[in-house]
Structures are given as structure tokens and as C-alpha cells.
């Protein structure tokens, strides 16, 4: 064991349960499992637990909904490791070895069971100029605001789809942005139908009304979408259309995005079944792979309240034969129904398929144009010929777009699932058999 730099030695953490993702679902799962006495590690890419919905500035207080859970997580005995990207997951005799990069160091987690709480990301549909600085995600804008960005005085248009537009519009208005327009691509009739459906869930209707009140001075329109962004080196203006006429707005920021899509890359790497883009689970949140559970948005877009319930179901049953409580199962069933109705309303309209032209970039990492991939038979062939989807984001941005535009099936997922330092990729615990529990120490100490 000599001759290697110490950075190549991974820190090793052994646990009963490894939770990947510290949003509401991951936190609820970690809390429920840890409070049963299980040794739980919960890891997340972000700087603080909370995920996207509960994101808050480092050192600042979380929102009233989030704070009790974050406090409970801290008291639960679960170990939270922030700033950690999962690179690979390997099954072994006693469970799984998760290889991650944490603070530029390799981190190996041995766990008997895994709970995937990998959340969701935004769907982007490429259009001319969407790569200009100043064109951002709708959720991305919310994340930037929560990270300390100031939008005061910025001319902003939100053009995309889905319920996420309302809270972000409210946040921008509160932050002093000059919010010119909120443009929903879905048809007026569909949005009205959605709003009517909210009567079945009065709390959601009240929430939507509360958001709308905060940006009343801005226009909200349906059946309208962005077709191009213009500018030299940064965004200067955008073109919008309602299908009949087109017009331009001078803007500093365009927030765009077409709803949320589940993050299923790690699940696919492990071999979990994916159904309609989400991780397939049974009523105990179990995937088809033994000892791998999944909760929250990664199992289907449903919102934080549903993620909390699913997390509690997974955390209360993982590693045991206990059935989940009937109370939790009933609350989950009610929330799943409401979420399903929402997705149909905000499905991207057919016209959006003709947004990208031959020279429109679709793969932002490798600068591959739509024309370069259009003729390919499948994602695999396009990757081999053009490097589409082979840059640092590993196709997380372009492949869902190409799935929408060309109906491609996602290519297989291989490690590393995220770019990683060579020291992480090559970190091995040479000569060491799978450790017996308990073991929580760095290899640096263990081999002294």
C-alpha cells in the first residue's frame, strides 16, 4: 500500500441504508429509517439538505415547511454528506458499494440497502439562441434567487409550461424584477381544466391564487411560446408566438422550461425498471432490484407532499418485512391521482417539435446541431458519429429534448454517471474484502 497519493484512498463509510438525494423524499426516508435505529447515510450534490424545493442559502434559515424536517434530520442520527456526486454503484455480496466524489475526494459508501431519491430536472426544448447567456431554466432561476442572486430591475419573461412558473413568477416579482410576461404554452382550455380540477384539492388552488397575487402587475397568457432568443454574447431579446402572430420583447433574462422529468440515471445504472420515464416501484417503494427502493419525483412527478409520504413509506419499511402503515398508503394514493391529472394538461404542444432548425445547437456540451443528429436511427448511432450527449452533462439536457423531438429511446447508462476526478475513478480499496459492519473510518486511518 505504498506509492499512491493519499487522495487515491477513499474515505469509507458503512451503513445499513444509503439514501441518494436529500430533497423532501430523501430526508423523509433518512429520518424514518434512522429513527428506527438503522445506520443511515444520506448524500446530496447540493450545499445543504433540502433539494431544489427546499433550497436555501447556506447559513440562512430554511422555509417554514422545510425547517422542521431539516431539524429532524439533524437529530435523527442519519449522517448527511453534502456536496457529493455519485459516480458509480456496484453490487457486492453484502449489498452495494457506492463510489462518489465528495469535496474533490473519493468517497466509498457500503450499504445493505439503497433508497434512490434523485429528484427531477427541467425539460428543455432547444430553439434558436437558447444557448445565449441569460436564457435560463425556470427552476434554475428559482435556484439562483435562493442562492443569493439579485434580479432587481432585470427585464424578465417566463415562457414555458407547468405549475412551476407560478411560484417562480412570484419570487421574481418579490425580488423586484421587471417581469414583463408569463407565457404558458398550454392552451387556455387545458389550463382552465387544470384550474377547475384544483377544486378537488383546495389547498393547491389556494396556493396557486397566492402566487398569482404576488405578480398581478405582470401579464399571464396561455397558448404562447418562445421561438427564438437573440443577442451577441448575451441575451438581448426574444421572439414569442401564439401560433398566429409573432412579436418581440427586449429582455435581460428569459426563464424557460417545459416541466419536470425524473432523474433516473443512477436507477438505470443499477438496472431498475423504468416505466414512462420514471423509476417503477411497488406500494412499498421497492424497485425490481432487491434492496433498492426509490421515492419522490424520480418515481413520477408529484410534488413535495407526495415525496414526503413516499420517503416515510420507504424509510419505515426498508430492511424489514413490516408493511407500511395504511394511513401513509391512503395519503399517497390521493396525491398520486392529483399529480397525474396535472401532467396531461401541461404536455408540450406539437408545434414545439419544429422549434429547432438544422443549425440550432441541441447538445450544449459538445455543440452538436439538430441537423447533425436528425438522420441518425437512434441515440447510440448519433453519439458515435457526433458526440451528442457525451459531454460533461452526459446527455441529461439534450437526450430528453431529443426524446421529445425525435422519439429516441435513451441509450444505456454506464459509469461514471457524472464526470469525476481520475483519483475517484481509480480509487480502490486494494486487497480489502467487504468490511464487516460496523465500519466508519477513513482508509488513511485504517491503514496506519
Amino acid at each position: 500500500m505504498t506509492g499512491l497519493r493519499v487522495d487515491f484512498y477513499p474515505e469509507i463509510v458503512a451503513a445499513d441504508v444509503a439514501v441518494i438525494g436529500a430533497g423532501p423524499g430523501g430526508i423523509a426516508a433518512a429520518v424514518s429509517a434512522a429513527e428506527r435505529g438503522l445506520r443511515v447515510v444520506v448524500m446530496d450534490r447540493g450545499l445543504e439538505p433540502g433539494g431544489q424545493i427546499w433550497r436555501h442559502k447556506a447559513g440562512a434559515a430554511a422555509t417554514p415547511e422545510a425547517q422542521p424536517w431539516i431539524t429532524r434530520l439533524a437529530a435523527s442520527g442519519a449522517r448527511t454528506i453534502n456536496g457529493t456526486s455519485v459516480v458509480d454503484v456496484r453490487p457486492d455480496a453484502d449489498g452495494f458499494e457506492i463510489i462518489a466524489e465528495s469535496a474533490s475526494r473519493p468517497l466509498h459508501i457500503w450499504a445493505a440497502d439503497i433508497i434512490l431519491a434523485t429528484g427531477a430536472r427541467e425539460l428543455f426544448i432547444p430553439f434558436d439562441g437558447w444557448t445565449l447567456p441569460g436564457v435560463m431554466g425556470i427552476g434554475g432561476t428559482q435556484a439562483l434567487i435562493k442562492s443569493g442572486a439579485s434580479f432587481a430591475g432585470k427585464r424578465v419573461v417566463i415562457a414555458g409550461s407547468g405549475p412551476l412558473m407560478l411560484p417562480v413568477a412570484a419570487s421574481l416579482a418579490d425580488a423586484g424584477a421587471n417581469l414583463l410576461l408569463v407565457a404558458e404554452q398550454a392552451r387556455r382550455a387545458a389550463v382552465a381544466q387544470f384550474a377547475t380540477g384544483l377544486w378537488r384539492t383546495p389547498s393547491l388552488l389556494l396556493q396557486a391564487a397566492k402566487y398569482r397575487v404576488r405578480f398581478l402587475t405582470s401579464s399571464y397568457t396561455t397558448g404562447t411560446w418562445v421561438t427564438a432568443a437573440h443577442g451577441v454574447d448575451r441575451l438581448e431579446s426574444i421572439t414569442l408566438t401564439d401560433g398566429r402572430r409573432t412579436w418581440r420583447h427586449d429582455v435581460d433574462v428569459l426563464c424557460t422550461g417545459y416541466g419536470l422529468i425524473p432523474n433516473v440515471e443512477i436507477a438505470r445504472l443499477i438496472g431498475c425498471e423504468i416505466r414512462e420515464g420514471a423509476i417503477a416501484v411497488d406500494n412499498r417503494q421497492r424497485t425490481n432490484v432487491d434492496h433498492v427502493l426509490a421515492v419522490g419525483e424520480a418515481t413520477g412527478i408529484g410534488g413535495a407532499p407526495l415525496s414526503l409520504i413516499e420517503g416515510a413509506i420507504a424509510g419505515s419499511t426498508v430492511g424489514s418485512v413490516e408493511a407500511p402503515s395504511g394511513h401513509l398508503l391512503r395519503r399517497r394514493a390521493a396525491l398520486v391521482g392529483a399529480a397525474g391529472r396535472m401532467l396531461d394538461v401541461f404536455a408540450p404542444r406539437e408545434e414545439l417539435r419544429s422549434l429547432p432548425h438544422a443549425d440550432t445547437i441541441v447538445c450544449r456540451c459538445e455543440d452538436v446541431s439538430f441537423g447533425a443528429v436528425q438522420g441518425a436511427a437512434c441515440a447510440r448511432q448519433a453519439k458515435l458519429y457526433t458526440r451528442v450527449g457525451m459531454g460533461p452533462c452526459q446527455g441529461r439536457t439534450c437526450m430528453p429534448a431529443l426524446d421529445f423531438l425525435l422519439a429516441w429511446q435513451a441509450d444505456s447508462v454506464r459509469p461514471p454517471v457524472e464526470p469525476a476526478l481520475v483519483s475517484v475513478l481509480s480509487s480502490e480499496v486494494a486487497g480489502e474484502a467487504t468490511p464487516s459492519f460496523p465500519l466508519t473510518s477513513s482508509v488513511g486511518e485504517a491503514y496506519q
Binding site: 447559513g59 444557448t131 445565449l132 447567456p133 435560463m136 427552476g139 435556484a143 439562483l144 450544449r364 439536457t397
Partner: protein, 88 residues
């Protein structure tokens, strides 16, 4: 602690020392300074943050000599040196 009770830290962006609120991310600090182009793409286009949650890798900058760090996932720390792409 200066007024408002919010402590401030000092970081260096492209050689210039600036004060930013403690707890802010590098991406938010750059946004507030009007620096929109964080990296140059493989074909030489300027790019800025898109997802702001670590997925898209568009906000990569050099932090304390480490290239390809995601500005959105990095908290600004007192004394940190940040280098963005040059668009000139």
C-alpha cells in the same frame, strides 16, 4: 458584522477583489456582478448558468486553480479566486 446583520466576505473574480454576502454561491455572485458568460463552449460560444442545480454543467469556472468547477454548486468562501471565460 456590518449593517443588516449580514456578514460579507472577500473573493477575487478575474483578478478583481470584490465583497459578496457570506453564504452566496459563486454562480449567484457572478450573476450579481453582471458577469453572464462563465465559460466558452467547445466551438467558442459564451455560456452561462441554465439549471443552477448541478445538472447542465454550463456554469463551469476555474476556482482556486481547479478547472471545470460548477459555480452553482460552490459556495463562495473568503479569499476564493474565481476565473471565468474570456469572451474577448
Amino acid at each position: 458584522m456590518p449593517r443588516g446583520g449580514q456578514s460579507r466576505i472577500s473573493i477575487v473574480i478575474n483578478g478583481d477583489r470584490v465583497e459578496v454576502p457570506a453564504g452566496i454561491t459563486v454562480a449567484a455572485a457572478l450573476f450579481n456582478l453582471g458577469i453572464t458568460a462563465l465559460r466558452m463552449s467547445v466551438s467558442g460560444e459564451p455560456r452561462g448558468p441554465v439549471c443552477a442545480m448541478g445538472v447542465c454543467f454550463e456554469c463551469r469556472v476555474t476556482i482556486d486553480s481547479r478547472p471545470h468547477q460548477r459555480a452553482c454548486l460552490t459556495a463562495a468562501v473568503d479569499g476564493m479566486h474565481i476565473q471565468t471565460a474570456s469572451t474577448s
